[in-house]
């Protein structure tokens, strides 16, 4: 197949994807809650298809990539690849085959390890990453919301300055440097916590801290500013005029509205934790998916890189959809207007 027709095909696919996006308008007004959600889900699916197409394209473009047949590979792997991807078929057949494999949840074999598939790597690594990630998310949400609220309520006092200074620290130190520092201080110098591996709770402390620092700082700043904004709103004055106690006003009236931006942020939060996990898992030698990913980048294990990228993308999109659902559940304003016109 010539380069030209191949480029043409890719462009065609991309433009089809693009046009379909045009006609799915997620923000259409007067839409029902379910309709809105379905539309979002459909967009995500199409975005995923776009991603798959892009990755397929990149796989073919990478010099010395998995489909460059002139490359010298161990026979077993070459046979495996040929059998899986029908390398001698025309491109559209390859693309179709790739999609069909994907639909069946098959991400293909590893390019470097004979006896591993991308699926087996994900099965092995993802549970570990998910456990670490959940810990970091719980920590950053609780610590971030608490710190942000305290900071807003004590605006321009020492509590506020302390929290904001710490948040700026958390904001300014890349997670791998923080991981290094934590490891140096607690594992090498003080010798109070283990420096590597996964299993015991002590081994979870440092990676969780390293992973959660940046999102915590971000959430604290977010909650602080939205809290300050909410506290200025009229309904807070109404609540005061009703004679409610300050704690009641904060907990029932201000906080639920002030954390709405945090819910919106949860999508990027999960993404940040995920990318953070690459380096943190690598540094602390945690056998999670992130470390596999980093290793496959170092080894140029293309099929693993691409398979895991698709898996991560799908995972993040699923998470974004769930966040959407949560948002709908929390904020009644974007609920279906039941039989009542407004």
């Amino acid at each position: 197949m010539s380069e030209n027709s191949y480029t043409f095909l890719i462009m065609l696919i991309l433009s089809i994807c693009f046009y379909i996006f045009m006609f799915i308008d997620v923000s259409r007004k007067g839409d029902s809650q379910m309709g809105y959600f379905l539309r979002r889900a459909l967009t995500s699916l199409l975005a995923l298809w776009l991603i798959v197409t892009i990755t397929f394209t990149i796989m073919h473009l990478i010099p010395g990539g998995p489909f460059a047949s002139e490359k010298k590979l161990p026979d077993a792997i070459l046979r495996n690849l040929e059998q899986r991807y029908h390398l001698n078929d025309p491109l559209y057949k390859q693309y179709a085959g790739y999609l069909i494999n994907l639909l069946q949840g098959d991400l293909g074999p590893s390019f470097k390890y004979e006896n591993r598939t991308v699926n087996s790597i994900i099965r092995e690594g993802f549970p570990v990453s998910a456990a670490l990630g959940s810990l970091a998310i719980v920590l950053s949400l609780s610590a971030g919301i608490l710190a942000g609220t305290v900071s807003a309520l004590r605006q321009k006092r020492w509590q506020d300055y302390t929290v904001m200074t710490m948040a700026t620290f958390g904001f300014s130190i890349p997670s791998f440097i923080l991981a290094g520092l934590l490891m140096y201080v607690f594992a090498y110098k003080l010798r109070v916590l283990p420096s590597a591996l996964w299993g015991a709770w002590q081994q979870a402390v440092l990676p969780t801290l390293a992973l959660a620092a940046l999102p915590t700082a971000f959430i604290a700043r977010l909650v602080r500013s939205s809290m300050l904004e909410v506290l200025r709103l009229d309904y807070i004055r109404t609540a005061r005029a009703k004679g409610l106690s300050e704690s009641n006003i904060i907990l029932r009236h201000a906080l639920p509205n002030a954390i709405l931006p945090v819910v919106t942020y949860s999508g990027p939060l999960i993404a940040a934790i995920l990318t953070g996990s690459f380096v943190v898992e690598f540094i602390f030698a945690i056998p999670g998916l992130g470390r596999w990913f980093v290793q496959s980048i170092t080894n140029r294990d293309y099929t693993v890189i691409l398979g895991v990228t698709i898996f991560y993308s799908a995972f993040l999109m699923l998470m974004n959809l769930i966040v959407d659902l949560i948002y709908i559940a929390i904020d009644p304003r974007i609920k279906l207007f039941d039989s009542k016109e407004v």
Binding site: L233, D234, Y235, R237, T238, A239, R240, A241, K242, G243, L244, S245, E246, N248, R252, H253, P256, N257, I330, D331, P332, R333, K335, F337, K340, V342
Partner: protein, 327 residues
């Protein structure tokens, strides 16, 4: 004639980047039980600040009550602490606000927001509280209380939201209701309905009403006493009749002249200029730069309140005996 509320020489400042704004410069008035008193004036003249100071709801900082007394039921509210004030807010003094769209919490149901008042201020057994909430909803003239109880604010129209606010205010059984521009954000027909409702409530429940408005028409329609504020001071006060038929202050006359009247053919005469900067208020009478009848003394000394007839008080040099000689 018993006084429910009596404000004495209230002074309030706001700190800003540009300097201290003297928002209230010695406001004094009495509010008679069971009456409707209106405070009128242009925006920025200190009407809302007065209302918020009575409730001690001024945002502090930047606001600061410098001096004065707010005597409600024989007790000075300014001396009370936060906890005691909480008993009074929403209980014996309730307040409703102008911004109907934003004054209710969007994430809580109307019923929940009314119940909060009852939980704080009502002695009723828990089982009867919901009944009472439904009662105040229908007292506020909302149809289908059960339905409204379960709805979120965004599901109500502007007028219904204001009724929900009123229901919330009534829940605590207030003796004084402060309404800060309660109808400004509403359509004219709904304005009339809300005013009618407020009047009804006053008659049926004996609640006194402090109505804050920039609209003289509304004040004329509902209030028995009217106070005119300008630049942080009360410049004229009296019965509605005094103010509308025999205005004593040039500012009041100016306000009346800027209202169109049916059948009136001549041009409206608005008051020229803008209210003064309250960071550096004019030395004499705050109104003299805009006053058509200003005299030399108006630039020098602030005028004192003078009793004209009955309870009609005017704060203007024109009422001085020397001024009569010149005209």
């Amino acid at each position: 004639m018993t006084q429910l509320l009596s404000v004495k020489d209230l002074k309030v400042n706001f700190k800003t980047n540009l300097g201290e704004v003297q928002a209230l410069q010695g406001v004094s008035f009495d509010l008679v039980m069971g009456e409707v008193t209106a405070v009128v004036g242009e925006s920025g003249c200190g009407k809302s600040v007065t209302a918020l100071s009575i409730m001690k709801l001024l945002p502090t900082p930047p606001g600061c009550i410098v001096s004065g007394q707010v005597i409600f039921d024989g007790q000075d509210l300014l001396l009370k602490n936060e906890k005691e004030m909480r008993k009074i807010r929403g209980g014996s003094i309730a307040m409703i606000f102008q911004e109907t769209n934003t004054s209710l919490n969007p994430t809580l149901k109307v019923g929940t927001q009314i119940m909060e008042v009852l939980q704080n201020h009502s002695e009723l057994p828990a089982s009867e509280k919901k009944q009472r909430a439904l009662e105040v909803i229908s007292m506020a003239g909302l149809p289908d209380p059960e339905m409204v109880y379960k709805q979120y604010p965004h599901q109500l129209s502007g007028g219904m939201k204001q009724r929900a606010m009123i229901a919330m205010a009534l829940a605590g059984g207030p003796r004084l209701l402060i309404a800060d521009e309660p109808t400004t954000a509403l359509d004219v027909t709904i304005q009339a309905q809300i005013l009618e409702l407020l009047q009804e409530l006053k008659q049926n429940l004996g609640t006194s009403l402090l109505l804050i408005t920039h609209d003289l028409g509304i004040a004329a329609g509902i209030a028995s006493r009217v106070m005119v504020m300008y630049a942080g001071k009360i410049v004229e006060s009296g019965t509605a009749g005094d103010i509308f038929h025999d205005p004593g202050h040039p500012y009041t006359r100016g306000l009346l002249d800027s209202i169109p009247r049916p059948g009136q053919r001549q041009k409206l005469s608005p008051i020229p200029g803008r209210p003064p900067d309250l960071i550096n208020p004019p030395q004499g009478c705050a109104f003299w730069p805009r006053c058509g009848q200003a005299m030399l003394i108006c630039r020098e000394l602030p005028p004192q309140a003078t009793n004209l007839a009955g309870s009609h008080q005017v704060c203007c040099w024109l009422t001085h005996r020397y001024a009569f000689n010149n005209y």
